[in-house]
Amino acid sequence: MTGTSDGFVVFDRVQKSYDGETLVVKDLNLSIGKGEFLTMLGPSGSGKTTCLMMLAGFETATHGDILLDGKPINNIPPHKRGIGMVFQNYALFPHMTVAENLAFPLEVRKIGRADREAKVQRALEMVQMGAFGGRRPAQLSGGQQQRIALARALVFEPELVLMDEPLGALDKQLREHMQFEITRLAHNLGITTVYVTHDQTEALTMSDRVAVFNDGRIQQLARPDELYEKPVNSFVAQFIGENNTLLGRVKEINGTALVELDDGEVIDAIPVNVRNRGDRTLVSIRPERVEIDPKRLTPGAHLIHAEVLEFIYMGDIYRTRLRVAGNDDFVIKTRNAPDQRRLRPGEHIEIGWLPEDCRALDAP
């Protein structure tokens, strides 16, 4: 799945500028394998949608090549690229019925009527909307429109489907359900999918690989687990999931890094992108990797004093905010289990973590 050597879709040193002064996309190199589900994740203005639009053909690359199945497509107009696309607001044609919407790509491909109707019906069945062919898009709920938009992008059997924040307008429950539907469909049909979102949960749960965009560059391109557990820089660490950060200075570096935090405490961490002694560093620790019961920790764990500031009951977990090494926003998450302690604000406790969960990253 993750074979980048296939290179079904390849961005080769692609740059894009709108005004001739600033680059929105800076030197993008990306190879997407056939059948892969790749997500472009990033904050707004990071260049991810521009990349998608260049791939779809609605924007032209200022520099560099985009290859589809080995052929450069820079000069191919969008309607000849044969790429299915799902838009942010679905873009279902309001003056056509659902069936007409689905028949549209087949009609412009001059597919015969009988064949067309069969394909439309099959596509509707595929998204469990078989009975809705005669409706107008305005008569459908958001989730139903979403399914129709998906069916329309798939009905002409493209090999590549682009999705531009397709679930942004849905409520949480429906969004989670559709995330599952979309991945299932994509894998069952074996189509290559490029998915753009700013929702990191969506990116983590759906994708084979995630490309994290910031400032016109890919910050990290990795599998979801790797992305979450091994962020390569402080942007990725802070953008993906919740994260505790402690600022300090590298004291010693050989295999592991010895970091002196700003309040004088010295801790061990894995050096990720710090090179030299004396560099400023941002140490990242995931909240769920912090243990409040030091007895459970294996030897070698680092123990540190903390003061409880706030305790929030969230149902399945407890979320506790602590003051650790001068940082008032240190958050830990503990499972709501029978033997779990409920901390009280003002309490002074010992917490601990393993040095391998502690990553020394660049200080922003």
Binding site: K80, R81, M85, F104, Q128, F156, L174
Partner: protein, 562 residues
């Protein structure tokens, strides 16, 4: 499906009740009442303003298209008497009708109303106006012969006091004496005397015994008192009053005269005995002497036809028909212009609308797809004509389009047309269409623009990503969604064009004018307001019918201004 509509909590049947046990609907109405009242208060000033200054005058104006009270009001006796007259007989009406007409015309000419009536009837029958003018000058002499003969019988007939004694209500006479006495007392005391004369009242019996005389004299007394501010007790009656007396005395029996009391009886008996031997004069001859055209039965037929208070005549005129004594007939061919004008107005409005769509659509498309800053600049160019006086713009077209104008000069200079073959671009339909398309274009562009602005670019992108060429994406996806804008623009331009006045007036010459120019002509030049109102009503009806047809064909919710 994960999303399902949740059923309302209430499961019991019957009307839903509010917490206080009242039906929920009533509670809701009460709760909303204050809100509605406030909304009404907010629009009230505008509503009243529009009602008073716009709706009411228009309603009044439109009412004029059927209103015809001037004939019945000015010639009340004639209107009643002439009903039995048959214009096909080829003769003038009977003496009785002519006598009624004489009393009416005398009163009308005293009040200076006969020329207005003549003008009104002249719309229906050419020449009536001058007949009324001429007869109006002479009609107060039409009883002269009889006055002289009555005076010969008894000179007292020429005394105003005789008439007062004969005609006036004794109570009124008493009031009148009291008023005179009070006036003299005031004069003696050198006080100012401002009390008005008591209004003349007829005595009861006289209307039965001498109906025509009573009616004519009462009219005389009223006009003398109210309109001229004179004293009827000091004025000679009009000559036609003597005509009335003569006519009454011919028919009245001696028994009837006795009802009027001994004093009157003595005078009237003497007169009654004398009238048989009076030298008579034919009223018909008097009118023919005033103008021989009074002998035309058509004149009298027209008076009869238009003697009712309401008439379809104006509407018939507005569609090139006329109401004749024999019913509805076509206007003479040289006077048929309105149908042609209506057709021309509709045709040219459609042409203007069409050219506005053709020219406006691409501009609106460009405007709505450009970046905001550029489109705002272009929008100013579109709106620029709005900030220039309509008159200036139209006059500019005059300069551009005339045969020695800029466009022809350039064409000649380029050698496209020869100097002798300069194009006629103004004072015809071409001129009107060119100038009005230019003037109305913003009204097409603005609704189109505001609708196109709301069409997200993602629709066309979606169409292209689905494999549609630029043209297919435009035609199948973009265009259908811009139709509401086209509809709104077309209705706006068409309705504005159909009632346009200034531009066709200035650049239309004779072949490029609209029905509205004719309406304006009747409002301000010919003063035939009834016909103008009828033409205006028809125009309004045509617009409403077209609007209705549009609603049926396209659907009015398919019109959007943005």
């Amino acid at each position: 499906m994960t999303e399902t509509a949740t059923a309302p909590a209430g499961t019991d049947t019957g009307p839903v009740l509010a917490a206080d046990g009242l039906p929920l609907k009533r509670s809701l109405r009460r709760a909303l009442r204050a809100q509605k009242l406030r909304a009404l208060m907010l629009i009230a000033p505008l509503l009243i303003f529009i009602l008073v200054t716009f709706i009411a005058p228009i309603a009044d104006m439109l009412f004029r298209s059927v209103e015809n009270q001037i004939v019945a009001e000015t010639l009340p006796r004639t209107a009643r008497a002439i009903q039995d007259y048959d214009p096909d007989s080829g003769t003038m009406p009977s003496e009785a009708v002519l006598a009624a007409f004489t009393y009416d015309l005398t009163a009308a000419s005293e009040r200076k109303l006969h020329t207005r009536l003549g003008t009104r009837l002249n719309y229906e029958y050419t020449g009536v106006s001058s007949l009324f003018r001429k007869a109006g000058r002479r009609v107060d002499d039409f009883g002269e012969t009889y006055r002289d003969q009555f005076a010969a019988v008894d000179p007292a007939w020429e005394e105003p006091a005789t008439w007062i004694a004969l005609m006036a209500d004794p109570d009124w006479v008493a009031e009148y004496r009291a008023w005179t006495a009070a006036g003299e007392a005031a004069k003696a005391a050198r006080r100012e005397f401002t009390q008005a004369q008591p209004l003349f009242r007829l005595r009861d019996e006289v209307a039965d015994v001498l109906p025509e005389t009573a009616s004519a004299y009462a009219e005389f007394a009223r006009i003398a008192q109210v309109e001229d501010g004179d004293d009827p007790a000091a004025e000679d009656p009009w000559a036609p009053v003597y005509l009335a007396l003569y006519r009454d005395l011919l028919h009245v029996g001696p028994g009837a005269i006795a009802q009027l009391g001994p004093e009157a009886e003595a005078m009237l008996d003497a007169a009654h005995d004398a009238v048989e031997g009076f030298e008579t004069v034919n009223l018909a001859d008097l009118y023919l002497e005033a103008d021989k055209d009074w002998g035309d039965p058509g004149v009298w037929g027209t008076i009869k036809t238009f003697s009712s208070a309401y008439t379809p005549g104006y509407f018939l005129n507005a569609v090139d028909l006329q109401l004749t004594p024999d019913g509805v007939a076509a206007q003479p061919e040289d006077r048929q212009i309105y149908i042609m004008l209506f057709e021309r107005t509709l045709f040219m409005s459609l042409m203007i609308m069409g050219s506005c769509v053709l020219l406006g659509y691409p501009i609106a498309y460009l405007l709505s797809n450009l970046p905001l800053r550029t489109s705002n600049l272009l929008m100013i160019l579109v709106l620029l004509p709005f900030w220039t006086s309509l008159l200036v713009r139209t006059s500019a077209w005059k300069v551009l389009l005339q045969q020695q104008g800029v466009i022809n000069d350039i064409l000649v200079w380029l050698g496209i047309v020869s100097n002798s073959g300069r194009l006629i671009l103004i004072n015809n339909q071409t001129g009107t269409i060119i100038a009005m398309t230019h003037i109305l274009l913003p009204f097409m562009i603005l609704p189109l623009y505001s609708v196109m602005k709301t069409i997200p670019p993602s629709y066309v992108r979606a169409a292209k990503s689905l494999g549609a060429t630029n043209w297919t994406a435009f035609w199948r996806v973009y265009f259908p969604q811009s139709v509401p804008g086209i509809g709104a623009g077309c209705i706006l331009v068409f309705i504005l064009a159909i009632g346009y006045y200034i531009t066709p007036e200035l650049v239309g010459g004779t072949s490029g004018t609209f029905i509205s120019n004719r309406i304006a002509y009747h409002i301000s030049s010919s003063l035939n307001w009834g016909l103008a109102a009828a033409l205006g009503s028809i125009l309004l009806a045509v617009v409403l019918i077209l609007y209705w047809a549009y609603d049926k064909l396209v659907g009015i919710d398919n019109v959007s201004l943005g």
